[in-house]
Symmetry: C3
Subunit: 468 residues, 3 copies
């Protein structure tokens, strides 16, 4: 077996990976110790006081009960959804699910700090509650997306470094959008998908590997790996209504966001199947499309789901995105790879980048089209938070700011991705050689002959009973 030899010393993680993990975790502990405390709603003394102060009689008013079920669904999406979606590669299942686990576990800690400093920093402390956990998961979602573009081509140390920077930039971008531009983006079409996808695409463009096609066979799936991947797809698809409604306002907004997302996703499946069949020879369906493009409808209502998009509008968005995304896999991905040198392992351009942009646009249009007639006078104010400094705004102004949010997210992603991409090219992060890409052997203990030994009971010389 020459495979082992090909892994030159540079991919040995023995000192680098432990060092980075421990250093950063120690930093997290110190920073959490200095900054992070519970919100009153999660604090033993605080909740009792808050109940008195606000004259609350029931624990059911604690934000925990409005958001916890959605939080757990989102948590499943980040760790099982994204993790298993990426197991489609025949020899990279451990890396897909394992590295996703690693980067997300690190990222959520750093996100709690970054988002805390920028959003809930009071008297020198970050106060966290259930909404903070959802926010951290969302932030990490954008890193999982970017991971999809570079899947199989980077070392875990590179991933952790990218996570550190991407979470930082995500939080800054989110701050600009939500706080400075006062934009609505509850399901993150702009902040999560557009930002995450273009960030990842820029990174992979800079990490371009010209000789990667010699591992073409490893870039494909096998029968079972496609089924593992469907576990990821389905949990993402099923829980997407929770994703888009998790941090919306209590009551009608959460309710509506779930319904809109449900409708958009359903329509998206139909057009994905239609175009997958139409574009493949003999009209057969392609698992890559089913695994990915069916989810584009959830991405594309990320901004507008909590608005009065209506079920009908949601169906239209899903309808379009299933088509756009499937066309993307058939035409855009090969084009990006051959002409623009963008090697996008999972096709995040089709699942997150384009649908994310569409989602931003749909959100801007839906916001601009809002009227008092549809939302009611109070409803309009609470839906878009036209109060305080923003009392002057009207829907059409809001629509313009929403559109600006798209541009900002895109710009931050391209610039940030370029910087991080060049950083990751530094030669001491242990990235794999071209031959070792898409292969778990480099960073994981994998028994050589395990699969073949499964049922044939080979002896240790590799001779099977039947071949002898």
């Amino acid at each position: 077996m020459t495979r082992t030899n090909l892994m030159a010393r540079n991919t040995d993680m023995r000192w680098r990976l432990p060092l980075v993990c421990l250093l950063w975790e120690v930093a997290m502990i110190i920073l959490f110790g200095v900054f992070v405390r519970f919100k009153p709603e999660a604090d033993a003394a605080g909740w009792a006081e808050e109940k008195k102060r606000k004259n609350i009689t029931s624990d059911a008013e604690n934000d925990f009960y409005f958001r916890y079920p959605s939080f757990q669904d989102v948590h499943v999406m980040i760790f099982v959804g994204f993790g298993f979606l990426m197991t489609f590669l025949q020899r990279y299942g451990f890396g897909a699910v394992g590295f996703n686990f690693l980067l997300a576990a690190f990222g959520i800690q750093w996100a709690l700090l970054m988002q805390g400093w920028l959003h809930t920093f009071e008297n020198g402390k970050i106060l966290i509650g259930i909404e903070s956990l959802i926010g951290a998961d969302f932030c990490v979602g954008s890193v999982c997306i970017a991971f999809g573009a570079i899947l199989g081509k980077v070392s875990p140390v590179q991933l952790l470094i990218m996570t550190l920077f991407q979470v930082t930039l995500f939080s800054v971008n989110e701050y600009i959008l939500l706080d400075l531009l006062h934009v609505k983006d509850a399901g993150g079409s702009m902040t999560i998908h557009t930002f995450g996808a273009y960030f990842g695409l820029t990174v992979t463009a800079i990490l371009y590997r010209p000789n990667l096609d010699q591992t073409k066979d490893k870039q494909g799936s096998v029968y079972h790996s496609d089924l593992f991947s469907m576990i990821g797809t389905l949990f993402l698809w099923i829980f997407w209504p929770s994703f888009n409604s998790a941090i919306s306002n209590h009551g009608d907004a959460q309710h509506r966001a779930a319904i809109n997302t449900y409708c958009s996703l359903a329509a998206c499946v139909l057009t994905t199947v239609a175009f997958s069949s139409a574009l493949e020879k003999k009209g057969r369906l392609n698992m890559v499309h089913i695994q990915n493009a069916t989810l584009a409808g959830g991405v594309a209502v990320g901004t507008s789901a909590e608005m009065m998009l209506t079920p009908y509008g949601s169906l239209i968005v899903g309808f379009i995105c299933g088509i756009v995304s499937t066309l993307g896999f058939v035409f855009a991905t090969p084009f990006l790879e051959s002409k623009l040198r963008i090697q996008d392992t999972c096709g995040i351009h089709n699942l997150h980048a384009m649908p994310g942009l569409i989602g931003g646009i749909v959100g801007a249009v839906t916001a601009a089209a809002a009227t008092e007639e549809i939302y009611g006078p109070e409803g309009l104010i609470s839906a878009f938070d036209f109060s305080g400094t923003y009392a002057y705004r009207n829907p059409s102004v809001q629509g313009e700011f929403q559109a600006a949010g798209i541009a900002v997210s895109l710009g931050m992603a391209l610039i940030g991705g370029a910087i991080v991409g060049f950083l990751l090219k530094l030669p001491f992060f242990g990235d794999p050689t071209d031959e070792n890409c898409f292969d778990d052997d480099v960073y994981w203990e994998v028994l050589e002959d395990e699969e073949s030994s499964l049922y044939s009971m080979q002896d240790s010389n590799g001779k099977s009973p039947t071949s002898s």
Copy 2:
């Protein structure tokens, strides 16, 4: 490889499948545009008004928070549960999980319309909320059940056509039961399981293929496919308490339905194991029984779980159904196939048909046995909705109507299934030849040698290093 040649032109989906998908999705968009709007509880203006009108002070009173967690569990059951349960076939995993995804995504849209027209049609509009989504998922559940009978033997176009008709008939049958007969059936023993299963069995009887035993090897499972199938089984089993309690009355009824279902399912596992071991040679357990018969206890308390069935009564129902269902797999399925020409791929007769009938009967008996002593005077009225036009009813009358509901469901299923079965025999829907049944190759892009290439690194000529 001659496999490819066997797929004659008739299975080419290239124009038919896209056409059907697009046509129907466009129809959905138009119909949703004309008819579907948000319920007040999901509407920006509506919820504010409703809170004022009903003097509601807390958003926690929004129906969303009473039902959303259960909805998401049901959603998992329909897409992951049913989808993966059917992946047990060794070469039909894509079809199982992919076609289930397709038909459910289409079905829920059509179900929102059909159930809306029949149940929540007001002033020319269908008002949808979280309960509508659960209802749509339930309706589609009955199609997933029927799909189990014809799994591997139909084209996706046939499935979409069956879905259209079955959802329609389901909604009519449900309307007759719930609105005309005023029957209780929160977990759908009658409307979902009895109807869905006998519908599917009738369809498969009409689509009888006499020469199917030549693909006997493909109708079996392999080690890994059985494990994939257990993913489906376990998520169905775990979330069944949510299924049976999802649309029950708030408060004690939802609480009770979850407990009863939990108990019934637990008992069912024990008797399934007992009979599986007793009926197989050397006392070994059969995965088919564990995958399926363990769920019969959930089916059989579908009608009665929200009633005062008691934990003790639930155990008895589960006890019986584990036995009936396992016996069904050992004796009924071969009998149905050889004598009645009913080829039931997944054994839905044993998991849904018989337990569904038992569930209807248990529901009728439990309803008839209700007393004011057990339910309290108000409790009895609210449990069975003995108000308005139905104020005259007493438990024993209710029991009779419940029994009538079983008969109606059965009749609708047999007649509807026969009509749809003959419809599906029309020669232009692209159904597979006998040789192509249970094989993903027909409708999916599957690499020829993928599995064998997994670890043996074969070159493209098919020669492996060891065989050369």
Copy 3:
């Protein structure tokens, strides 16, 4: 194939397994009939009365809505989480997921009775509600843990007998801790993990098999089985916040428990990866560590998560436990096997025993460190229930009782495990021979050549196209 011959008559389950299952299920039915009734909150008459009596205006106050989402998450952990975690063995996937299913389904029924008699027995009746279901799942969790130590080495009859006794002892131990010592242990570091793990380790020590290393190949994993196992890992990891918060007080306590667990688990992943990489040759990661040690952080905050551990404290606990657990897999497990004759199939010593002890200690220290300043005067009383008979207690006394709870759990586990271990050595329970350990063939119908036939289309004589 001589494998079949090796299965001597003693492993034939044909009469024993059905007999045990049926006998015990009948006993359950009788005992439930005599003892088990619904709590008022799940009772048709009871909830109406309770609402009047307590002047409750909203059904949202029903305990069901505070705990049901967490219950379902815990349910997933017990059946999918533990079940799939143990599928890592290459030839024991059916046994892992199937026997876990069987023992848990039986155990929850017996636990409802045992815990009911000891905790909620009133006027000769056990009144059950949603919290009882969570309690039963918790109790069975400790059996699933112990199962991990003896995985692959026992018959299903032995497992059912162990379950009966372990559930009994668990309930007694829990009664001593929660009722007599008045100890807090909402996430069960002591009652579930310490007790369950040392119980299982004692049982496996007594069932020591000196010649087990001849099946060394079967004790390993294969590529796909490791991915199945990751399904279990991730669902356990994701839902652990629900586990530790499921039975905490409404409001801030549940909220806080979820946040603390989230933080601890995140930190644990980082140190697990660090030490896994540092301890393996070439710095590669070991799937066994990722599958197990990443969860230790959840175990170790089981007692203290609902206390004011703070996010910062949680990170420290997770940090330490990732290290301890990974070191355990590398050093302790081989030592236990070679020196102490403890054959611990899944390494529960590292995932549950040590982290459980740490969790007990952290809980004792956190309780002892509680102050009125941190919890508020009312908060301190409600957090530790310093009322009634226990009004005299202060945090430092509470800390001492907590510490006593660890010792009691450990003692009960060792003594109980020893008794049950010797009981299981009785010769008529059908345990497998050494050659048959870790092999599904003994207790499950497994087709001989199934895997190899998957894509090579062998004919029925076993000749494959390539070998002929």
